[in-house]
């Protein structure tokens, strides 16, 4: 109980700080932060599976893309409104993650990584193959006139920032609640010692499946929000690279912490942003970061913080 209150309070402070930042930051940086918050939601979804349940997926771009295309296709071809588009994105992500989870969870470890990678690759190729509807690599733009949610124009920079913040806040509280709940603690137990969890009477397979679905839907929500807020849907977001980004964000920020994904996304985004001004080979930074993190800080920034100064960090 105390744990739950402390966690909620901590998250509330974080959200208030992010809201305040909008009025302090110059326009360019608040624009970046809006994008970072949406990507951080993606990373939070990833973290639920990787950080808390201990399952390393290399195919989360499929869930991100499921949300993105679920919304995009519904708005583009069925002329649905934004709110129904979001619903379509969430349902698509739910179905995709339920099916992929059911299949991929028959494997574990390295095989799980490769199976998720292959499914995501098949999904990416399917988007290219169905180019007539998806416009393939080129992608398509969601018209400004459509990007309105209950009367609020989401193409406006200020509205966009707060829409991203609302999404981030909702997901942060959902994650905070999951982590403090018995369900979340069981996920940690599975990560720590799967056989022991099973022999305490937990249905491990079912918990893992629910974790994949929760993780997939949150990732899908990020994908749908990205399309709606930034008005573009494209196959790039389904590539292997977009499966690796959340892994990178979470590793950098700290796996198995609620704020790690945000910290990791902020750092990585600025690192790449900065280096892409210097060279077109900006992904070099991502590569170097991945190697250094696995070598020297497998706990990430928030993980080190928890270990050294703030053991209560959720």
């Amino acid at each position: 109980m105390i744990e739950q209150i402390r966690t909620s309070l901590f998250h509330l402070l974080l959200i208030a700080a992010l809201a305040g930042l909008y009025f302090i930051l110059p326009e360019y940086h608040s624009g970046v932060l809006a994008r970072v918050m949406v990507l951080a939601v993606y990373a939070m979804g990833y973290n639920l599976l990787f950080g808390y349940t201990g399952l390393l997926s290399l195919g989360h771009a499929l869930f991100f893309a499921a949300g993105m295309y679920g919304l995009g296709m519904a708005m583009q071809h069925l002329d649905l409104s934004s709110s129904l588009g979001i619903l379509a994105g969430l349902i698509t992500a739910l179905i995709v993650s339920a099916v992929i989870g059911f299949l991929a969870l028959r494997t574990s470890g390295v095989a799980f990584m490769i199976v998720t990678l292959m499914f995501a690759q098949a999904g990416y190729l399917t988007i290219l193959w169905a180019g007539e509807y998806t416009r393939g690599d080129e992608g398509f733009v969601i018209q400004q006139s459509q990007r309105v949610l209950s009367g609020i124009d989401l193409s406006d920079a200020g509205n966009r920032y707060f829409a991203a913040l609302v999404l981030f806040a909702i997901c942060l509280f959902i994650i905070g609640w999951i982590v403090c709940s018995g369900f979340g603690k069981t996920l940690v137990a599975i990560r720590e010692n799967e056989e022991r969890a099973r022999m305490l009477g937990y249905n491990v397979q079912r918990h893992k499946w629910l974790a994949v679905i929760a993780s997939g839907v949150i990732s899908g929500a990020a994908g749908a929000a990205y399309a709606l807020l930034f008005g573009y849907v494209g196959a790039t977001f389904a590539t292997v690279q977009y499966s690796i980004f959340p892994l990178l964000y979470v590793l950098l920020g700290g796996a198995g912490t609620t704020i790690g994904p945000l910290i990791g996304t902020v750092f990585m985004f600025y690192l790449i942003d900065f280096s892409s001004e210097l060279t077109n080979a900006y992904l070099l930074v991502a590569g170097v970061a991945l190697i250094l993190l696995t070598l020297f800080a497998p706990q990430g920034l928030a993980g080190e913080l928890r270990k050294r100064v703030m053991p209560w960090l959720p």
Binding site: L56, L58, L103, A104, R106, T107, G109, V110, A111, M113, I114, V115, M118, F119, Q121, A122, L125, T126, L128, W129, I244, L247, L251, T279, N280, A281, Y282, L283, L284, A286, G287, V288, A289, L290, I291, L293, T294, L295, P298
Partner: protein, 308 residues
């Protein structure tokens, strides 16, 4: 062209694919078989081999054959050395933990690929083949007087492509002899069976691992040097071969070299043949799904035996 000649052409192209793929995949398979790690940067070692082949042959100048021969020896050695260094400074330090190794080799993938982009640039660059004589191929036709032979337009191959197939076969046989007959091969296999026991018997497991990792990368580079006169060198060229060799290694049964070769021939040939008749995208979708389902329902590979 009619179906028959078209099919023969597709099979010949497929055989070249299969030869290169078999080399790539065996490199990946040896590393997995002996070290039990998945090297995601394998495609980048292939790419490095091709880029180095371009660099070396343009340095040597002279007749294309000289440059090519130098590249054939030097590129695999350089790539192997880079891989051995990566093993020493990265993989060894994380104790070859399977999951962390994948993350680290993804990092390595970006480092190699992006460094190549910074130095070599984004262009695709050709390497001239040492010899390249066109051979027209005949086809048979049933006429009123029985079978007669003719030369359909467009049906043919080059001496170089045939040489690639032959070279791959020779390298694979050589590798087989090396692994089964030589002392180093024996040491590698002993390490594969039980690395702790091998260590107890005084085998320097660290050095064996560096050697194996280097050798796997060198084989990929060798495949790239062979293929670069047909394909051109480009900094993103490692992606498709990586995916295909993954597919081959998994379908052939993780770590089994004969299974890998059979699967490489099967996939290489069918990829060539399918892509002539179907959209290559559909072929790739089917192939990736096949890998996923093989891993889920038959993890020992299509040709492997189930281990109890």
């Amino acid at each position: 062209m009619e179906f028959g000649p078209h099919f023969l052409l597709a099979s010949l192209e497929g055989a070249v694919n299969a030869a290169v793929l078999a080399l790539m995949a065996v490199g990946l398979s040896i590393v997995f078989g002996i070290m039990r790690v998945v090297n995601v940067a394998h495609g980048e070692f292939f790419m490095l081999g091709a880029v180095l082949a371009w660099w070396i042959s343009s340095l040597v100048g002279a007749h294309p054959a000289y440059g090519f021969v130098v590249a054939l020896i030097a590129a695999p050695l350089i790539v192997g050395a880079i891989a051995a260094l990566a093993d020493h400074f990265v993989l060894r330090r994380i104790n070859y933990d399977p999951e962390r190794t994948i993350v680290a080799t993804i990092g390595l993938l970006y480092v190699l690929q992006q460094t190549t982009l910074m130095t070599f640039g984004p262009e695709a660059r050709p390497v001239e083949a040492p010899f390249n004589k066109r051979i027209a191929l005949p086809w048979f036709e049933k006429t009123a007087e029985g079978f007669s032979m003719y030369w359909p337009w467009g049906l043919g191959t080059t001496t170089y492509k045939l040489a690639v197939i032959a070279a791959a076969a020779v390298i694979l046989i050589g590798l087989w002899i090396f692994m089964t007959r030589s002392r180093i091969g024996l040491i590698m296999r002993a390490t594969q069976l039980d690395s702790e026991m091998a260590l107890a018997y005084g085998i320097p497991v660290d050095r064996v691992y560096a050697l194996v990792f280097g050798m796997g990368a060198a084989i990929a580079a060798l495949a790239a040097v062979l293929v670069v006169p047909i394909q051109q060198a480009h900094y993103l060229m490692g992606h498709d071969p990586l995916l295909l060799s993954f597919i081959v290694v998994i379908i052939g049964g993780l770590g089994s070299i004969p299974g890998t070769i059979v699967a490489a021939i099967l996939i290489g040939m069918s990829d060539g043949i399918i892509s002539v008749f179907f959209s290559p995208t559909v072929a790739k979708i089917l192939a990736t799904l096949l890998v996923a389902f093989v891993l889920i329902f038959r993890p020992q590979g299509l040709f492997g035996k189930r281990v109890a």
